[in-house]
Symmetry: C2
């Protein structure tokens, strides 16, 4: 531990300067004109890997932006850790809301301010520096591989195929990812669950054209009124989803795990105050954290029909639309839920209407069992470096690629994230505390050691 | 009758040319740049009135576009008919859907094609020519006044005030309006009822910003889901409106009048086919014609919330909006219904939300009793000129100015319209059959004679 701390202390300025060089490359994957910058960022990662001591590193082409692949194999009989991260970032717009230019990183009040400072250049770079450190100090206890992609912020469209084509190269015992948050610097946590997603669009058609609401109102089914009735019927008075079969595959979480999760600090008053709402609304019998962590949900993400401009236009619209998404818990299958949703909505579509439904997006949920060697290793590492055992947390969000890794490669992931909610990822003034950056670099080698121990 | 027919026969070409001159002025009241054309159209009406034999005619300024006022008083002891019409027209756009230019009137297949051919220049001009004819043949049986406005197509914003300021000038026994339709050339009808209107906009606010639907979905009230529930609850399984007190002032229509209305030809199969719907949807216990004619209704005219673009954006929206209008039957008060609606929606707004509601538009319903002298006169006139007694029809639409006339001036209106549903008013290729134009000119003097008879 002291050797690690010494190495960090000696090289901390250089670590930061190297990260800043990576951040200065505006590798915004949603902008097609950024291709040159994407390749520059990928090359920078490749060179960093080689300088840090990788046996091999290369920029591998995909159908989209390239993936950086590299490794150091020290002994085939030892476990292998596959580090995943991404070098692409979100767009920086709106630029006028930034206090300093997004691609000119600066340190203010102990935090790095820049696009990508946390997500994911900052978190990814901790792994490169931890790797360098273990190589430099001769303490690397296992084999390591790296897969750093450039399309995470646009939904990783090429990565699943990349995994399919490179199964042998990617063989590993665990995938280690730092792309999530912990509760606070003094309340470390590990994300052990992610929700899946079914996202569909409904189009309900009534009459074949917009009608005069005076001449026809009361006699012709209005698709806006009728879609409202359909949407309203999808949840009951206990805020449970009414689609037949929807809960069939939901696994109840054990009282023990619920008790463990309940240890995470949470103030309902502060939550409501931050959102300026007088009440929370959710499924009866569950706490707010459980409603997003271990229970599925159904939300209208968008709804539109008829006249939405200024003033009063008296039409009875021909069509009404809704985008509806369901967050799923692990063991619920996104494809099956799509089918249940479609079948149910087709059944309840009222007389006088026609319905069309299409799936827009989906992904499976994911859970890391807390009895798992990688979880125990991460927990021990964090306890040692932060001085406190981390709390296992189920996040309401989705990282579809994690379940893809399990499906395609047959490898579980551990989400050892060092970000904070206050890092403003995807927003102006994204930042990452230096404390978290350096603490992460210290924690990662500990994970490697404990993982080898847990696996042996 | 023969004298009238002869006069029409002799002058029919000139009548048409004069109407065409009026139509050529693009008096589109919704375009502020049309002010010069509005004044030209008003002047043209004023001159036509004087040439037709008016004692006096003038263009009177209002806070908006001017009103043309004129009269011929032959004997204070005789009844006075006040003719209302409007010289403004709807915009002609989309221009590329017209088969001939909208402001260059042409006759094709026995119909005048142009913007305003029916609504209301064509129908209004019948009154000017009937007036000319009665003066020329010495057959005018009563006093006549004219009030021709230029803002009907934008909701008559200045006319109520104009009426208040000119009560004495506008004194009359009946207001005669040709701005509605009849069922068919061989099935004449008279509109005896119009529905009133309450049109409001609802804004439901949940959290103070759009949230990530993964991180918050299931725990925070989603205003799009909740507004759908609120809208859905406004009508019950019999399609009756659930707002407490809503039906209190609705007068049941007598079985006799329902039987009379049921004589109007109506094919439910053709109605459904024309709208491409497999079922009609409306209040239990009433026919389709009754649902729009004598019963109130509630329609969502527009609804919007969240993400409505392409693809999948996983937000839990902060706000949801709906424009909701209710068509009211005579005796329901638009202001009272606004209040009932607002109070009810405020009461059912769920915990976790804030609601704002504002009234956008309103107007009272109107009914012409079929026992009324003006109705009997119109019925006799149409029976004589069309060879068939007209059917009294209640229209689902609203002409708010008609109830304003009753409120401000204390004068009832008779809606002796000669348009057809196929005239495509407000649409490309608006048209008006020459048959209806000339038949109207013949019918109007008959109305005057019978009205004097009925009033004496």
């Amino acid at each position: 531990m002291n050797a690690i701390k010494d190495y960090v202390e000696t090289h901390k300025e250089r670590f930061l300067e190297e990260l800043f060089d990576l951040i200065r490359i505006p590798s915004v994957s949603s902008k097609p004109e950024a291709r040159r910058d994407m390749v520059r960022a990928a090359d920078y990662i490749r060179e960093s890997l080689l300088r840090a001591g990788a046996d091999h590193a290369e920029v591998k082409e995909t159908t989209g932006f390239p993936v950086v692949y590299g490794y150091k194999m020290i002994d085939q009989s030892l476990p292998t850790v596959l580090v995943y991260g991404h070098y692409d970032v979100q767009p920086a717009e709106p630029l006028d809301l930034w206090d300093s230019p997004p691609f000119e990183p600066v340190v203010r009040d102990g935090k790095i301010y820049a696009r990508g400072a946390d997500d994911d250049k900052g978190q990814l770079f901790m792994h490169l520096k931890a790797f360098e450190m273990m190589n430099a100090t001769g303490t690397l206890p296992c084999n390591v591989k790296f897969m750093i992609e450039g399309e995470e912020e646009i939904g990783s469209p090429s990565l699943k195929q990349f995994c399919k084509e490179n199964k042998q190269l990617l063989k590993a015992d665990i995938i280690l990812i730092s792309d999530t948050t912990m509760i606070a610097q003094d309340i470390p946590s590990i994300t052990v669950g992610l929700r899946g997603l079914s996202y569909l669009e409904v189009e309900l058609t009534g009459p074949n054209r917009d009608l005069h609401s005076g001449l026809y109102g009361g006699a012709v089914g209005n698709p806006a009124n009728l879609l409202a009735k359909m949407v309203a019927s999808l949840t009951d008075e206990n805020n449970r989803i009414t689609i037949p079969g929807f809960y069939d595959d939901v696994l109840e979480v054990s009282d023990k795990e619920r008790a463990e999760m309940a240890k995470a600090p949470f103030s309902l008053e502060e939550y409501k105050k931050a959102l300026n709402i007088d009440e929370v609304v959710g499924e009866s019998g569950y706490t707010t954290s459980e409603r997003t962590g271990i229970r599925p949900s159904l939300d209208v993400n968008g709804i539109w029909s008829g006249y939405t401009g200024e003033g009063a236009k008296t039409i009875l619209p021909s069509k009404a639309y809704a985008k509806i998404s369901m967050r799923l818990v692990p063991n619920q299958d996104s494809g099956k839920i799509d089918q249940l949703f479609i079948r149910h909505l087709e059944q309840i579509a009222p007389a006088g209407t026609k319905i069309k439904i299409r799936s827009l997006h989906g992904g499976q949920g994911y859970v890391t069992p807390i009895e798992f060697p990688a979880y125990r290793a991460a927990s021990r590492a964090i306890k040692e470096s932060f001085g406190k055992a981390p709390i296992p947390v189920r996040s309401g969000g989705s990282i579809p690629i994690v379940s893809d890794f399990e499906e395609v490669l047959g490898i579980k992931s551990i989400l050892m994230g060092f970000g904070l909610d206050s890092d403003a990822i995807h927003s102006p003034n994204e930042n990452y505390p230096l404390f978290n950056f350096y603490k992460g670099i210290e924690t990662i080698p500990l994970f490697y050691s404990y993982f080898v121990e847990e696996m042996s």
